[in-house]
Symmetry: C2
Subunit: 420 residues, 2 copies
């Protein structure tokens, strides 16, 4: 059975001038994949009547399902609703449920002094040829249209509103309308080996894969995700076929394997610490709090993460982390000696089992001949020992911060495994 | 003069299963807009021969310039190069300059033990019908094709490689090939007022705009960017026409205006502190270092940012920030009293002029009837006074963190302006 195809159309000039990065499409794709709908194409067009109409025409040739986001706001540049109304040959009428909901939101939920305006009430007007899908969080409802056997669903572009509509309304309805196949993904998360090296190592495995199972390489900052994808008729036989192949793949990259789920280093570290019932802290100079931020995005991280000292100024390294003044003047802030003392200092200050420290020059300024931009020292340790790592990065500031953060997390992860 | 249209085609299954968020398109759009090229459409397709070919056919009907990223890696799932070779009727030949560059990269730049593989050498093969654009950072070169008056440029999907190629090669070449108009954008960055309220306030201004000047609302986490866009024949007359309109717009939203450039709160705060020659620090509980991270993404932030204490554990609040034990037991960690003491503590610990503190419950767990998930206290202060703000958020963990961080930054920004 072939998967059902869908297209995503995102509407908004902000996507075409690069002012907004489209995160909605990734979320929609993930959720639709889970129910066996394959995203064939994603298209972004501006708030332009003809361009939107043309995109609807074209995508309905490519796919059975067309999901549309954006252009439903209360302001004049948002033209999606009148356009859809004309495209599907309807007229705008007030929907009483939506009207009541808009009034409820303004009176009970938006607690700040936000008077309800004529333009907000207009949000309750919908084409009479669509099925209205309730948006519990915002004022613009979802709209479900059908034409010549194709399904078109319009959702707001505000991510949290789109997510609620997709999960609570659109996906359950799609499940009742299609007999859906199953797409099984298995992802191995590796860190520290390049894409070509991995490809070389697993080339025999790759060429022996059956044609209905695909292997993809998804490289990131120092990481490569290896993903097996199959279209299966049912979960049991599919899992039975893919599981031994996935085990083989994991074995082949065992030395650089972080996780056999599609999850980040911060999740893997959290699981290790919970298992060991241990705690951690970070002392960050060049990463400026980004490692702490990554760790604390995980729900429940307060069970093992106690805190961080971001010591951007040398003063903070001395006063809060008790790095020796002599170390800072002789070896310098970016040195093996300093990151070692930062680990010791933060272990004591935060009273944890493990600690991670970073110090480096992220650029664009601050480099010297001896220590060019991209020079980074990392240390991970516990009360018995501390290990260090030096990096020579060659990216821009943001990527240097990101790459240092992830490399440091992986360094700590290995330290925890070897010293737990 | 009408602007030249371009389409962006991004290639890769990872974009269609939602494993990767496309940041390249936003960068390309920004840079092309600057030279007066309007992105008409963005399309993402998978690593599928027919789908890529179809996208090339379709986009060349919409646009004069077709920019393609992705699918140029050394692994088997990357099929863009052979496809382009066939599509434009060429054959693959070894390019000696690219071969020398690939060897140079492996021998001199990639310092880790990464042996050069047959598949890496294949990167030096290019279609004989294209102009090769050198990629100084990576192994896959850019490729420039022309067919029936349309220009097609293929670039790698790795962001840093794509950026280098676009800036150094593609844009200079496009400038020589087209007589380009000028697109002028003016963006006012507001924070703290909803889209509808702003729209209501500026509706007369909006309806009086001439037809060749467009106003767009770009809402984010608590912020709304208002962008005026015009297509001008030359810079001087264009600026002369748009400037008074932009001044009028800024005046209308003056009370919520953060900046009249398209720049974040962290940039605005940096400018204020540099002007006052003052320093700052943060004490973060619920934001977990994200505010420090935002501030330190700005080059030169070490001139005014001294450091942060992320006090996730109460222990850290007491030991490092000297919050009273009694305050924590009586009022609780998430309370006005605690954030006030956190500000005082970090001002002293980091020895700065200003400080910002956050404490809250980000969810999904940890809420109570009295303090539900989304309860947040923020404090900003100097050695003379401290001001506080309470939030009641209703989002998911990540958005609660992001919204708190931005609201806190804006709260500090206003404090600095009023007390500088």
């Amino acid at each position: 059975m072939n998967p059902i195809n869908a297209s995503i159309i995102t509407i908004g000039d902000e996507l075409l001038i690069g002012q907004t990065i489209d995160t909605n499409s990734a979320f929609i794709a993930q959720e639709l994949n889970k129910i066996g709908v394959w995203i064939k194409r994603r298209v972004a067009v501006g708030d332009v009547w003809n361009d939107i109409g043309q995109a609807l025409d074209e995508e309905s040739k490519h796919s059975q399902i067309i999901l549309i986001t954006g252009g439903l706001g209360p302001t004049a540049d948002d033209i999606t609703k009148p356009l859809l109304c004309e495209y599907f040959g309807g007229k705008l009428i007030v929907n009483e449920e939506v009207l009541a909901h808009v009034k409820y939101l303004f009176e009970k939920v938006y607690r700040r002094p936000a008077p309800m305006l004529e333009r907000n009430l207009k949000q309750a007007e919908v084409p009479d040829v669509c099925t209205v899908l309730p948006n519990t969080i915002g004022t613009a409802p979802g709209m479900w249209f059908e034409k010549e056997g194709k399904i078109f669903v319009s959702m707001p572009g505000v991510p949290i509103e789109m997510k609620g509509l997709l999960i609570n309304e659109v996906i359950p309805l799609l499940k009742t309308r299609f007999q859906l196949p199953l797409i099984i993904h298995k992802t191995a998360f590796t860190f520290g080996m390049g894409e070509s090296m991995i490809a070389e190592r697993i080339k025999d495995f790759e060429s022996a894969l059956p044609p209905h199972i695909k292997l993809a390489y998804l490289p990131g900052f120092g990481l490569v995700k290896l993903r097996l994808t199959m279209v299966a008729d049912n979960k049991e036989t599919g899992e039975k076929e893919i599981e031994p192949l996935f085990s083989k793949l994991k074995q082949l990259v065992n030395d650089v394997l972080v996780s056999d789920e599609d999850e980040g280093l911060e999740v893997a570290i959290g699981k290790l610490l919970l298992k060991q019932n241990k705690s951690m802290a970070t002392a960050e100079s060049c990463t400026g709090g980004n490692i702490a931020h990554l760790i604390t995005t995980i729900p429940g991280s307060s069970q093992y993460f106690k805190g961080t000292v971001v010591s951007y100024a040398n003063e903070a390294k001395e006063n809060v982390l008790h790095v020796n003044h002599d170390t800072l003047t002789s070896a310098g802030a970016v040195s093996e000696e300093t990151v070692r003392e930062m680990v010791k200092g933060v272990l004591k200050t935060m009273n944890t089992d493990y600690a991670l420290a970073t110090s480096g020059i992220m650029g664009p300024d601050g480099g010297s001949e001896e220590k060019p931009v991209g020079t980074v020292w990392i240390a991970a340790g516990n009360n018995q020992k501390t290990e260090t790592l030096k990096l020579n990065l060659r990216f821009d500031r943001l990527r240097n911060i990101e790459q240092t953060s992830l490399t440091a997390l992986n360094f700590l992860r290995k330290f925890i495994i070897n010293n737990g």
